[in-house]
Amino acid sequence: MRLPPVAITAIVFVVGFALCTVQFPNFASTRVAANLLTDNAFLGIVATGMTFVIISGGIDLSVGSVIGFTTVFVALAIERLGVPPLVAFAAILLLCAAFGAAMGAIIHVFDMPPFIVTLAGMFLARGASFLMSTESTPITAPLYSTVSDFALRLPGGGRLTAIALIMLAVVAAGAVLLHFTRFGANVYALGGSRATTALMGIPVGSMTVRIYMLSSVLAGLAGIVFSFYTAAGYSLSAVGVELDSIAAVVIGGTLLTGGQGSVVGTLLGVLIQGLIQTYINFDGTLSSWWTKIVTGILLFAFIALQQAMLGIARRAGPRKAGVLKS
């Protein structure tokens, strides 16, 4: 029996949490757990979208810039133009959907690598947010204080905030969409083999468009959540989040070549990154750059693990004809 990668991720998270608790007895509280969810809410949402993209065999580098663009757009629309927040949210989500659909269409129609198309998208979204404003715009709409005051009280003093609840809802909906719908099955099929998927009669083009649309819409939603979190819109916010979310997806056991993975694993990957950051905050003497180093080490460990498992699977399978191995 082999453990699925998600189980290994879960074990890493539980062992990590236990180690933190041994060192800092205050760690095992609902307060820390709830903060872990709140602080990583936007990352959890964007990583859910990234999971779909990566399972389908693609990659989306534009998500960090889309988050930055969204925060600026929302802040300017609400504060400068006086648009009601909910209307601004609807507008930005539509805009994100169009943006993602355009990237997906270019990838499919011109048969270009997703890496470079979404790279152009990254430049475009970040540049557009710079053009709108280079300053941080505070948001003072009443909705924002209502949302940030709202929280479910947990026993032990933890506050499950609105944005944490949004994130959990997105993850749950993402899991259902990926594992229990035709759309989800098609995503796995695309990641397994594009040619086979096309031959099976699945509309590859519209799937590609919809997958990137989903990723961009979730990035837009993450941007709205980020603006709730910081109560401001800033064009430099969420720089590098695309890397964090790719790392979370990989640590969550999703195969970067596509075809395998889960949304629950991604949530665990996000929480592991948050755990490292929380440990560093508790410790107080370690600097925050250790987060990057430890994340890098975990990335390596999980990728090496995937590679080893692929190797075992290949050896167990039938030997290919004509393969020379010295």
């Binding site: 198309v117 152009a120 990989v250 750059w289 390596f300 590679q307």
Partner: protein, 332 residues
């Protein structure tokens, strides 16, 4: 059947890039009438044109290594982080130990980073994007570990010369780029090595069966890429007389990839051109300088870059070329 003008332009290697560079330089000249003025001062050439070359040196060095990696159907996302590491090492050692030790340590670190990437790709068989992502994430943390989170400054005159001095009137960074271009060109084009690299990128399996040591090839290009990145990091640090682990080389990996792609090397590996990658780096820098000179906010840069990426990719896309051919036929 006469091929259309567009097809012919697409088929002549390098012509499109050189026309693009000349067009951008002409726009720069229109924006700023003194653009082509050169003057000698303190034994060094000055002028906007020299500035383009000088500012473009780090990206040019990065793309010199990147073009070989991309030719093997790989990619190296970690070059920006490697720049930060080598800059941090050079800046922290320069004052106490002198240039030779600092330079050797910084370049050695670059070699090690390249060896690590090459090991992951060639020996463990991990996809290049993923393999180099590890160092991209962790590398900046390592650089901050070296600088202890501060911006390390130095005053060692010989290291400062590397960023701000001149060789025969040419700024040192430009001279370094020219030197590295000649060395790289001599090694890969003066021998069969370049051909073997192209074969590896074209079809690794077939090359392996034909007796090419593809693993050694892949390892070598990543090591070379790491070395070039380390050199770029030292020059970038010498230029500002300090090392900033957070911002040194930030996003330059994307500029380097862009330069290589503009230079006509396909991301799917195979045929590559060192000189055209350099032209690509110059195009990017000439655009940056032009936007600065024209008085537009520098934020405009990213939008222009996004447009350039799309246009270049469309031109390279096989389906687009087919569409062009169909249009050409329809016109006759």
């Amino acid at each position: 059947m006469m091929p259309s003008i567009m097809q012919r332009l697409l088929q002549t290697r390098g012509l499109a890039q050189i026309i693009a560079l000349l067009a951008i330089l002409a726009i720069d000249r229109a924006v700023s009438p003194q653009f082509f003025d050169l003057r000698m001062q303190d034994g060094r050439l000055f002028g906007s044109l020299i500035d383009v070359l000088n500012r473009g040196a780090p990206v040019a060095l990065l793309s010199l290594g990147m073009v070989l990696v991309i030719a093997t159907r790989g990619i190296d996302l970690s070059v920006g982080a490697v720049m930060a590491i080598s800059g941090a090492i050079a800046a922290s050692l320069a004052d106490a130990y002198g240039l030779p030790v600092a330079l050797a340590a910084a370049l050695g670190a670059g070699l090690l980073c390249g060896l690590w990437n090459g090991f992951l790709v060639a020996v463990l068989g991990i996809q290049p994007i993923v393999a180099t992502l590890i160092l991209m994430v962790a590398g900046r943390g390592v650089a901050q570990l070296i600088t202890e989170g501060r911006i390390v400054t130095f005053t060692a005159p010989d290291l400062v010369w590397l960023g701000n001095g001149a060789v025969l009137g040419v700024p040192t960074p430009v001279a370094v780029v020219i030197g590295m271009l000649i060395i790289t060109g001599a090694v890969v084009r003066g021998s069969a090595l370049g051909l073997l690299i192209e074969a590896t990128g074209g079809n690794a399996r077939a090359s392996e069966l034909a007796g090419i040591g593809t693993r050694a090839m892949i390892l070598a290009v990543y090591v070379w890429c790491g070395l070039c990145a380390a050199l770029a990091g030292v020059i970038a640090a010498a230029d500002i007389m300090g090392a900033d682990a957070n911002n040194a080389g930030l996003w330059l990996e994307l500029d380097a990839i862009l330069a290589v792609v503009i230079g006509g090397t396909s991301l799917f590996g195979g045929r590559f051109s060192l000189v055209l990658a350099m032209v690509g780096a110059l195009i990017i820098q000439a655009m940056n300088t032009g936007i600065l000179l024209s008085g537009y906010p520098p934020e405009f840069n990213l939008l222009v870059k996004a447009a350039v990426v799309l246009v270049v990719l469309l031109l390279q896309s096989p389906r687009f070329a087919n569409a062009g051919a169909v249009l050409g036929r329809a016109r006759q």
